[in-house]
């Protein structure tokens, strides 16, 4: 006899996600479904519009993944036009990308997923002095003092005493799967509150360059809107750049002493979770942060790895890479659109066909992307694998550093690298990537300073659209992984637009060959201690950092008939 659980809504994510699992007699997940529950049709809205303004629409795919769909959209148009973009513009975009990635990773761990592992109520029983001592023994983060821990605990006590627990009222406090000692819980709660301030440093960097966040506005096909001048009241000058540097220093301190320590330290108490959440183990990542205008050199590596085996690594060197461009396809056999075949994004056709939830049929608004017919996981875990396989210095150093913390805290000297391929490993991978991104942020900033110092003030090359049809792809290594926007332009108007988004790769429904997707695969075999409170489902799904609004979109568009409702 199996038990069916439906978790709807999945909370602490972006968007509307429903997860269904079947649990066997051993109390383990034996079947799973991932279902997106909202559709907006933004790509359809884009048809016929000016490609230069597509980014204003696509950025609104997501307010959590803000910036990425704007930058990727202009890259797609620039690729179609074969338009060279000034170096200053690439570097400003790279700084925004790195700063946003840090904000996104920090918020995801501390504010969206930590309470899957941290029992907030247990922190009330902690000894603040012992907590401080523990925290100080782990790292040099400057806000681990006993007074700080006491103040946090007092604040928590006042809040709990009020009886109005708001968003914390529904938490799984005291759940048998919660295993941290009270002092570790209090340390995590203190860092949760401190991280709220820290993420603002990243926001301020994005806003100084982007004009605001969420949703930047310095975006332009052909460059950026920030003009650079040192002898006129322009928008980007040495004063603004120095303001940014101060925030980089503060981010660097938190990421390297708190975030990169907290995750492996907490993970060390949950070593059993290195055995769950493995998923599909094919990893896809794309290169990003170009450092030259010919798009030959990239700071972040790309490539594809099969079956979790680094020796299968195939490098994706740059954005014109044919291996990547030809390998992507999407299937809607199990999604609420017509058609069964996996089609390349430039040729995709999609007409909504809603059927309500059918276990063996269609059950989601999220389609199923494949890479040469295989399901692939994207995101920090994929980025770390590709970073290691390509010999990237930062990924290599920080991965070993994280594994060392786990070994020390767990007093277990035998932690293989493959432990990363798990639910808890995805969090570790995100912390490792944060270390890489904070170094990247600093080097991109330095590169911009150096380039500006040569007297280069170029920020924009005006696009010119030819008659006839052209197509392009914009590529980006987003916080949640591989992102590509595919555009077809005819006579300076958008003819077709499709985004193949990280959460589409990971949250997608079963594909044309009925293979399950990364979320679904990672849930298989998870233990469920209490079907009424399926905390374990949340742990595994949250480890991917779901972003559902992003993942649901509509392609094609030449069809006038938009919607066919089958049943309600």
């Amino acid at each position: 006899m199996s038990t069916r659980i439906t978790v709807d809504p999945i909370t602490r994510i972006e968007g509307h996600l429903r997860i269904d699992v079947e649990i066997n007699d051993e109390g383990q997940v034996s079947k799973s479904w991932s279902s997106g529950q909202m559709w907006r049709g933004i790509e359809n809205i884009l048809i016929g519009r000016d490609p230069k303004e597509a980014w204003t629409y696509t950025q609104r795919f997501c307010g959590v993944c803000t910036t990425i769909h704007a930058i990727t959209s202009v890259r797609a148009v620039e690729d179609a036009l074969n338009l060279e973009v000034p170096l200053n513009a690439h570097l400003v975009r790279n700084i925004i990308q790195a700063a946003h990635a840090l904000q996104d990773h920090i918020v995801h761990f501390y504010h969206l997923s930590a309470v899957d592992w941290v029992d907030v109520v247990s922190a009330l029983d902690a000894d603040p002095v012992a907590t401080s001592k523990l925290a100080e023994s782990l790292s040099g983060w400057s806000l681990n003092g006993p007074h700080e821990m006491k103040a946090v605990q007092d604040r928590l006590k006042t809040f709990v005493k009020s009886g109005q627990l708001g968003p914390f009222a529904s938490g799984y406090w005291g759940h048998p799967a919660m295993k941290l000692p009270p002092e570790v819980n209090l340390m995590a709660v203190a860092h949760y509150l401190q991280a709220l301030d820290v993420q603002q440093y990243a926001n301020k960097i994005v806003a100084i360059l982007g004009g605001k966040t969420p949703h930047i506005q310095n975006v332009a096909v052909g460059g950026i809107s920030n003009s650079i001048s040192h002898d006129a009241p322009s928008v980007l000058n040495i004063e603004r750049l120095m303001l940014i540097e101060g925030f980089i220093d503060k981010l660097d301190h938190f990421v390297k002493t708190a975030y990169m320590t907290d995750v492996p330290a907490i993970g060390a108490f949950y070593l059993d979770w290195t055995g769950y959440g493995k998923g599909v183990t094919n990893y896809l990542s794309v290169p990003d942060c170009p450092t030259d205008t010919k798009l030959l050199d990239f700071e972040l590596p790309g490539g594809y790895i099969q079956n979790g085996d680094l020796s299968t690594f195939k490098r994706i060197d740059d954005w014109s890479n044919e291996y990547f461009r030809k390998g992507v396809a999407e299937s809607s056999k199990h999604a609420w659109y017509e058609g069964d075949q996996a089609l390349h994004p430039w040729k995709g056709t999609t007409n909504p066909q809603y059927t309500d939830f059918q276990d063996e049929g269609q059950y989601s608004w999220i389609k199923a992307p494949t890479f040469y017919g295989e399901r692939a996981e994207v995101g920090p875990l994929a980025d770390v694998h590709v970073g290691l396989a390509s010999g990237h210095k930062g990924y290599t150093e920080y991965t070993h550093q994280a594994v060392d913390v786990i070994k020390t805290v767990s007093k277990n000297p035998d932690i293989p690298l493959s432990a990363l391929q798990s639910t808890i490993g995805r969090h570790a991978a995100r912390a490792i990537r944060a270390g890489v991104m904070v170094d990247n942020l600093r080097s991109q900033w330095q590169a911009l300073m150096d380039n500006v110092a040569t007297g280069d003030e170029d920020t924009f090359n005006a696009p010119e659209f030819p008659k006839g049809e052209i197509s392009g792809v914009g590529i980006h290594q987003a916080p949640r992984g591989t992102l590509s926007h595919w555009i077809v332009i005819e006579d300076a108007k958008i003819k077709n637009y499709q985004a193949v988004v990280p959460s589409t790769w990971n949250a997608g429904a079963r594909d044309a060959n009925d293979q399950i997707g990364p979320y679904e695969a990672s849930l298989m075999g998870n233990p469920i201690a209490d079907p009424e409170k399926p905390l374990e489902v949340l742990r595994t799904v949250h480890s991917f950092d779901p972003c559902i609004a992003c993942s649901i979109h509509l392609v094609d568009t030449e069809q006038k008939e938009i919607v066919k409702v089958k049943a309600l």
Binding site: G63, R155, L196, H215, Q217, A220
Partner: protein, 377 residues
């Protein structure tokens, strides 16, 4: 009540801000609302009082979570203070610790226990087409959930352009019938905080007003609080003197653009967008951190019929005007290159009409405001 009669020590401890900073914030909000200093003290007291925090039910429809992310960037006060000290956020999908039926039960319980007393916040549009199938939560459509929650709400706030008027997904051809809360809840008063996403200060300032006075602040005919949306972006823009003097940038990075000239001819929608971006700016940095401040035209993201509606680089309709009439008309001014003859004629007609009707620009500005901001409450 004089400021020194009030004991702020408890408040200081709880909010983690000192009395001076907090009073300064309240005074700022009160001044924006046109209220005397005594009202600022009343606000501070309302927050300091440890009575029950007002319960808030927060619905997510078709949205990108931009407005909630904006709250995460708020500093006056921070989201942490908002949630721990100002309101009781009883249902919010992005923040709730529990999931599935646990949070759905919590929502029902709060709505039942606080019937007629909870604040309803709606983030995202409501898709009406095809019986609402395009957005479902816990098996229910957003249309049903919105009607249910609105029925016994003490007040309703639409937070963001999507909830205020439909937002990006309502752009033509509006595939899902995306609708704003005021249009969907026709018989209810809905306070709207448009913007994509809005400045979180506009939201929190209005929530603080509700916490203090037990009612919503004065609103205009589109449901927007007058304290935040009473003026056009154009009216307080730091590039405005260049508009008046006829100095325009025509392309990103050109000479005028480097010199910080007006972006009108690049399609800036500041002249037809009501918002406080140009005075409040974003992310509490200072030094012109807002779209026009980084050299990009405003695209009217908060204004119904402008954002996601008019082409990005098309000329705005100049609603209010504008420079004194001894200044040259727009087509005679310097640097009119780079735009088409048709666009220039269009601009000339709009501005010409405004100038023709203007004797005293200050007077006209006031009239325009009162016309577009009719009391609804």
């Amino acid at each position: 009540m004089a400021e020194n009669e009030f004991n702020f020590s408890e408040l200081e401890k709880r909010l983690g801000v000192n009395r001076r900073t907090f009073l300064k914030f309240c005074t700022g909000v009160a001044a924006s609302l046109g209220l005397p200093t005594s009202a600022a003290v009343a606000m501070a007291e309302a927050v300091a009082d440890i009575k029950k925090r007002p319960p808030v039910i927060w619905l997510h429809g078709q949205e990108c979570t931009g407005p909630t992310e904006a709250l995460l960037r708020s500093e006056q006060p921070s989201m942490e203070h908002l949630i721990l000290d100002l309101i009781s956020l009883d249902y919010h999908q992005t923040l709730d610790s529990g999931a599935g039926h646990q949070v759905e039960d919590m929502k029902k319980k709060s709505m039942h226990d606080n019937k007629g007393k909870y604040l309803l916040v709606i983030e995202g549009a409501i898709p009406e087409k095809d019986n609402g199938i395009y957005c479902k939560i816990a098996g229910e459509t957003m249309t049903d959930l919105t009607r249910e929650a609105a029925e016994h709400a003490a007040a309703i706030v639409a937070y963001g352009s999507c909830a205020s008027w439909g937002g990006v997904q309502s752009a033509s051809p509006n595939p899902t019938g995306a609708t704003g809360a005021p249009q969907f809840l026709k018989d209810k008063t809905v306070l709207t905080i448009p913007g994509c996403p809005p400045n979180p200060a506009n939201f929190i300032g209005s929530v603080l007003y509700f916490v203090t006075f037990g009612k919503l602040p004065p609103i205009d005919d589109k449901g927007r609080p007058k304290w935040a949306y009473g003026r056009l972006v154009h009216e307080n823009c730091y590039r405005r003197p260049h508009f008046d003097a006829g100095r325009f940038a025509t392309e990103f990075g050109d000479e005028g653009h480097k010199k910080g000239w007006c972006l009108y001819k690049m399609g800036c929608k500041g002249p037809e967008t009501y918002n406080n971006c140009s005075s409040l700016e974003y992310n509490n940095i200072g030094g012109q951190v807002w779209p026009v401040g980084v050299g990009h035209p405003c695209f009217g993201c908060s204004e119904k019929g402008v954002g996601f509606n008019k082409p990005l680089f098309s000329l705005a309709e100049v609603i209010t005007h504008t420079p004194p009439n001894m200044f040259p008309t727009i087509e005679d001014r310097e640097d009119a290159s780079g735009i088409t003859a048709g666009a220039a004629a269009l601009a000339g007609a709009a501005v010409g009409a405004a100038i023709g009707a203007t004797a005293m620009s200050a007077k006209k500005l006031d009239e325009t405001q009162s016309n577009s901001n009719t009391d609804k409450s």
